[in-house]
């Protein structure tokens, strides 16, 4: 294991987000995580699209590509397929990955490419100066929706699960410890790992996540999902989550039998329970689960393809050009 400090993952480029932007905290978390985990710098590739979040690669002293808007998952797919030994990371905003890039995202998830996907959800278009995004709450007044947005929002966790995700988690920019734990788990996961990071855009959508980060609000609203642990929350852990006919329901802990409280199983083969938990909130309005919703093993696209090549070579021998061009039959003219 190589030994690094955070500065080893910093570049000489000035970080150019707005002062106070949540992106700074995430950058610090990622750099620290990589340094501490001793990830070899030269094996890391960051791919992004366009947006404030998407400038991330410029600040990571690893291999990186600042791509075009929405296409990072596709670009990263090519990177991972070419070299399955690399640690490939995708960074993008809610516009980048869910609006223009939505299709590439769900297909990368479905195929289970070995990618760690950091979705910086600030529920706004930052870089283009404040239009609503696919995660903006309905009614939001923005430059492109002065009378309030009439778009219903995606729930990124639900969407990822609907797209067959093998790993989905949610964390908060401000909670660096939590972020780090999730990064660790995602990094260890083989396959597409989607991390929705609630990220504060203090310029165009300040305090969007106050219910989860506010000193007073957070106790009532933050539901920590921990694999193997009962799902309980609240300032006094007075709330619990139970099953109610195919959906998850929040109840007073005192009102239910402790054995009825859901024990979170992130490894359940069936994604239904994870999906049900994701429906507890839509955007962080009221009690909202944080943590790993789902983490299961599935064949990893780039690895399987690599094996196919190896197997084909083993079975048929290394390709021979002469044999190839004569394979349809030949005749000779003398």
């Amino acid at each position: 294991m190589t030994s690094y400090a955070r500065v080893d993952f910093q570049t000489d480029q000035e970080v150019r987000w707005c002062p106070g932007c949540g992106d700074y905290t995430i950058l610090a978390s990622v750099q620290n995580f990589m340094a501490n985990a001793g990830i070899e710098r030269e094996k890391v590739v960051f791919v992004s699209g366009i947006g404030c979040a998407a400038r991330f690669p410029y600040y990571m002293n690893v291999y990186g590509m600042h791509g075009i808007h929405g296409r990072a998952p596709a670009i990263a797919t090519g990177v991972a397929i070419t070299n399955p030994d690399l640690s490939v990371w995708v960074v993008g905003g809610d516009g980048d990955l869910l609006s223009i890039g939505g299709n590439h995202l769900i297909h990368a998830i479905r195929r289970n490419l070995d990618l760690t996907i950091l979705l910086f959800n600030n529920q706004i278009y930052g870089l283009t100066k404040g239009q609503y995004s696919p995660t903006s709450e309905p009614g939001k007044a923005t430059k492109s929706s002065p009378a309030g947005s009439i778009d219903h929002a995606f729930n990124p966790v639900s969407l990822a699960l609907g797209a067959e995700a093998s790993f989905v988690a949610r964390t908060l920019d401000m909670d660096r410890k939590h972020t780090t734990a999730i990064l660790q788990a995602a990094h260890e996961h083989r396959g597409s790992a989607v991390i929705e990071i609630y990220q504060n855009c203090n310029v165009f959508n300040d305090k969007a996540f106050i219910q989860l980060t506010g000193k007073t609000e957070r106790y009532a609203n933050r539901i920590d999902l921990v694999h193997g642990a009962p799902i309980i929350f609240g300032a006094q852990k007075e709330k619990a989550v139970v099953w109610a006919g195919g959906r998850a329901e929040i109840v007073d802990r005192a009102a239910v039998n402790p054995s009825d409280i859901i024990v979170h199983d992130a490894h359940a083969p069936d994604a239904s329970a994870a999906f049900a938990l994701s429906r507890l909130s839509h955007g962080p309005y009221g009690p909202t689960p944080i943590g790993i919703f789902r983490s299961v093993r599935r064949p990893v696209y780039d690895k399987v393809l690599d094996e196919e090549v190896a197997m084909s070579k083993a079975a048929r021998g290394d390709g021979d050009l002469k044999a190839l061009v004569t394979s349809l039959g030949t005749w000779t003219v003398d």
């Binding site: 690669p57 090519g78 084909s312 349809l328």
Partner: protein, 634 residues
């Protein structure tokens, strides 16, 4: 059209001689165009391809033109459901599948309706007699039965009871019901093989292999094949054989290949020659899909294929693969190329090597998806936002596609640039004998791979090679070469983001210069001009074969005319200006409305004459010859 003015054989419209072979008249011909036509379900492509193989191995030169309906299976018996396969075989170096067939096989009334107008006067017409029933005649729009009403009196008609013959032949092979008649294409094929004096061995071997696991089908097809052959031998009514001798082709080993396969092999060769893994990303689209189908079968060459969710993803994945060190290719047709523009522009800005294959088809929009056209040239050269120069190459025939593919890889790697390679539906599906090049003599391809820091202990991703102006390619995995690229304007040398005005001008100039300079690294345009002509016929892409044949026709008529083809459309070869100025007139035939013409005018400010055609079909040699004669005032 013929130089010696000897009596012309109506079947080939070429000089020939007749002899007899046991009472059967044998026509000798130097070339022959045969067209198989039937319902899409009739297996005409199969029959055509088998005949092609038999002819190739016999030693004829040949060129083919398959034509499919746009629908998978249009309703049986209808005009849109007709599928055809045309082949020209010859005893000399021919270039096109021929203009008009001398032999037409029509398996049903619809096929006759669609294709009869092309059959030469006096040509051989073989029909599946029993398919000419009320229902089929109605579906094809015949008011009366052409077999009986005199419509076909100008042809050498053979009405063969193919269904009865087939049924009889396959009896006892174990196939039954609707499957029985499926073998009738083999019956027709057997008959044609007999007609051209080919034996059935090559075909039998193929059938035995192909249907090895389907014993009954195999036997039925073999039986039908022989029945057709024997029908030729035994039937008095069928009193004609045609002999086309082996072609006098340059010595060498030949194979018969279509353009999509040859192009695929060229890409594989490019990767081998560069010592890089090949990555091919594509979204299926006619007529490019077969490149994916071909490449996916060659994993043992280290080929990784990726069927993406759409064309944009395919281009994106190819770009990512290029960043990670693959020889990266993405293939598509026109609509897909329109979609890939933004990503190609990023490849250009990040200066990563990548080949974009466009197998052109009829446009605009969905257009005529199964038909060839050359109308994506502007898009390839000029169809991106911003100043986006890149090399554009075109293959001119199925076998040429192999070489051009290697060349596209060479330029992409050497100059660290996306390269667009144009093919078209005619090249893609048509086939011709290809004299195999010496595989050991193919060039080594090299890329400016970085192995360590290039500026003291720093790595500067935009520190260019002073000769090629290519930037170094640093492949992830190498310590010390960590770097970032992206779509924002880059600062020279460092590659950092730069909004500096002078830097943007500089980088724009450098990108343009790098591409323009490729003119010095590619062969000059070669002109074929034996006797100092005034007129040059300049072609690109698949139009070349019709031009060469058409020029041959014109020369046979005593006209002096030069011809050349441009393989490099951006940048143009270094001697283009000289070539253009050496002729009083330049004629540019294109399967579009004048795109190369306009490019030449834009670049060289010199007038050219255009011949344009967008009919979903290649030029015929006759059309080109006629145009030449018109220009020459003859």
């Amino acid at each position: 059209m013929d130089s010696d003015h000897s009596p012309v054989n109506p079947v080939t419209e070429a000089p020939g001689a007749a002899a007899t072979n046991g009472g059967v008249r044998v026509d000798r011909a130097d070339r022959m165009v045969i067209r198989f036509a039937g319902d899409s379900g009739d297996g005409m492509q199969l029959a055509g391809n088998r005949f092609t193989d038999a002819a190739a191995i016999f030693g004829n030169d040949l060129a083919t033109l398959p034509t499919f309906p746009a629908e998978i299976r249009a309703p049986a018996g209808t005009l849109p459901g007709v599928s055809s396969f045309q082949i020209q075989i010859a005893d000399w170096d021919i270039l096109t599948p021929g203009d008009r067939p001398g032999v037409l096989v029509a398996m049903n009334p619809a096929a006759l309706k669609v294709h009869l107008k092309d059959l030469r006067d006096g040509g051989v017409l073989i029909i599946n007699k029993e398919a000419f029933d009320e229902r089929n005649l109605y579906k094809a729009g015949f008011e009366s039965n052409p077999v009986e009403d005199g419509t076909l009196s100008g042809y050498d008609l053979h009405a063969v009871p193919m269904q009865t013959l087939t049924k009889a032949a396959v009896k006892g092979t174990g196939v039954s019901g609707r499957a029985v008649l499926r073998s009738k294409n083999f019956l027709a094929l057997g008959l044609i093989l007999w007609m051209f004096g080919r034996d059935t061995k090559v075909t039998e071997a193929w059938v035995a292999k192909k249907f090895a696991k389907l014993e009954a089908v195999k036997n039925a097809n073999l039986a039908a094949l022989k029945a057709g052959y024997n029908y030729g031998i035994t039937t008095g009514s069928f009193a004609r054989q045609i002999e086309v001798s082996p072609a006098d082709l340059p010595p060498g080993t030949y194979t018969n290949v279509n353009g999509n396969a040859a192009l695929s092999w060229g890409l594989i060769a490019g990767a081998q020659l560069a010592g890089l893994p090949l990555f091919y990303a594509s979204y299926p689209i006619t007529p490019a899909s077969e490149i994916l189908h071909e490449l996916v079968r060659h994993r043992n060459f280290g080929v990784k294929t990726f069927q993406a969710e759409d064309e944009i993803a395919a281009a994106g994945a190819a770009l990512g693969a290029a960043f990670a060190g693959s020889l990266s290719v993405t293939g598509t047709s026109g609509p897909g190329l329109s979609l890939k523009g933004e990503t190609i522009s990023l490849a250009l800005m990040t200066e990563l090597p990548m080949v974009i294959v466009d197998v052109q088809r009829g446009g605009p929009s969905t257009g005529l998806p199964t038909k060839p056209e050359q109308s994506d040239l502007f898009l390839a050269v000029w169809g991106r936002h911003g100043e986006s120069p890149l090399p554009v190459l075109a293959a001119s025939s199925p076998s040429d596609a192999f070489e051009v593919a290697i060349e596209a890889c060479r330029l992409a790697l050497k100059y660290m640039t996306p390269v667009i390679l144009l093919s078209d539906g005619y090249i893609a599906t048509g086939s011709e004998p290809w004299r195999l090049p010496d595989m050991d003599a193919l060039p080594d391809l090299a890329a400016p791979l970085a192995s360590g820091p290039n500026a003291g202990d720093r790595f500067l991703p935009y520190l260019r090679d002073i000769e090629t102006m290519a930037r170094p390619w640093a492949i992830p995995g190498i310590p010390g070469l960590e770097h970032r690229v992206g779509g924002l304007e880059k600062e020279e040398v460092t590659g950092n983001v730069s909004y500096d005005p002078a830097n943007h001008q500089l980088m724009t100039d450098v990108r343009a210069w790098k591409i323009a300079n490729i003119a010095n690294d590619i062969p000059d345009v070669e002109v074929d001009d034996p006797d100092g002509a005034d007129l040059l016929v300049l072609s690109w892409g698949s139009t070349f074969s019709a031009v060469r044949a058409g020029v041959g026709n014109a020369r046979n008529q005593g006209v002096s005319v030069a011809y050349a083809r441009i393989r490099y459309l951006s940048p143009f070869p270094a001697n283009m200006a000289t070539v253009l100025s050496s002729y009083r007139q330049v004629l540019v035939p294109e399967l579009n409305m004048g795109q190369l013409s306009r490019m030449i005018k834009a670049e060289f400010v010199t007038p050219v004459l255009s011949v344009n055609k967008v009919e979903g079909q290649p030029f015929t040699a006759t059309e080109i010859a006629d145009e030449i004669m018109k220009v020459m005032g003859q």
